[in-house]
């Protein structure tokens, strides 16, 4: 009972890279095109959830363990907070957009918005993946104990 059938595994192996890439592009281009940290973060988490469903939870945990997921969750939230704090240091207002705005429609523009997008994306993706891990692994352990 290691994961699903061979067809599902092959298709998943092909698709996961594209899902991750699409999520990353949605996060990075969030200030120019539709998307942003929230949608891209959910895309990233769903790629790992696809690994967990198609192969098995062991493979997914080897790729990104529970500890690493909670660590990157904390890291994303903390870096967002740090960006806000830097704004308050440099300009006097918490979460102020302190970097030079640059010209619109370029990738490097809009001050702190892309940085905050990346922080939010990491945070949302890691926390949703952690929720799914908690639901699958802890629940599974208990029901197996129940069946004994």
């Amino acid at each position: 009972m290691e994961g699903m059938t061979k067809i599902v595994k092959t298709v998943a192996r092909l698709v996961i890279g594209f899902i991750l890439l699409y999520g990353a592009s949605i996060v990075i281009y969030g200030h120019i095109t539709p998307g942003g940290g929230f949608a891209g973060g959910v895309f990233i988490s769903i790629a790992y959830v696809l690994i967990m469903l198609a192969f098995s939870k062991k493979v997914a945990m080897r790729k990104l363990s529970n500890f690493a997921a909670s660590l990157s969750d904390n890291l994303g939230a903390f870096s967002f907070f740090i960006i806000g704090l830097l704004g308050s240091i440099f300009s006097g207002y918490f979460l102020y957009n302190f970097i030079n705005h640059g010209t619109p429609f370029r990738l490097v523009s809009a001050g702190t918005i892309p940085l905050s997008n990346i922080a939010i994306g990491v945070k949302v993706g890691a926390s949703l993946y952690a929720i799914l891990v908690a639901l699958s692994i802890y629940g599974r352990v208990l029901t197996e104990k129940e069946e004994e």
């Binding site: 539709p34 942003g36 619109p104 949302v124 949703l128």
Partner: protein, 114 residues
């Protein structure tokens, strides 16, 4: 239009009040969440409007006069993700209740607790 959205809301409330199955109650919560998000976006819609994303070389004044309201969209965007978090929390509670009482039935759980 608003009334149809409210009908959706009311279906969710009926499911929470009258159903005995815990998962049906969770489904009612999810439906309520969708209807509230939809209502906020409906309030901000402008007839014949365009999406609040500036295209390259577009006139800003024309964009400001035709674009739909960006503020409810921003708030709903956060509220959708929060809804996913609360859904996961409710699912965890339901799994725990099922492990403890071996049933999803609300009145049965009440009876077992004595």
């Amino acid at each position: 239009m608003y009334i149809l959205c409210t009908v959706l809301f009311v279906i969710g409330i009926y499911s929470i009040i009258a159903k005995r199955h815990i998962v049906k109650k969770i489904i009612g919560m999810v439906i309520i969440e969708y209807s509230v998000n939809l209502f906020l976006i409906l309030v901000g819609y402008k007839a014949g409007g365009i999406a609040p994303i500036l295209a390259k070389g577009q006139d800003v004044a024309e964009f400001a006069s035709k674009g739909v309201d960006p503020l409810p969209q921003a708030l709903v965007l956060t509220s959708i993700v929060i809804g996913l978090g609360t859904l996961a929390l409710m699912a965890a509670l339901a799994i725990r209740l099922y492990e403890k009482y071996n049933t999803f039935d609300m009145s049965e759980i009440n009876r077992l607790r004595g």
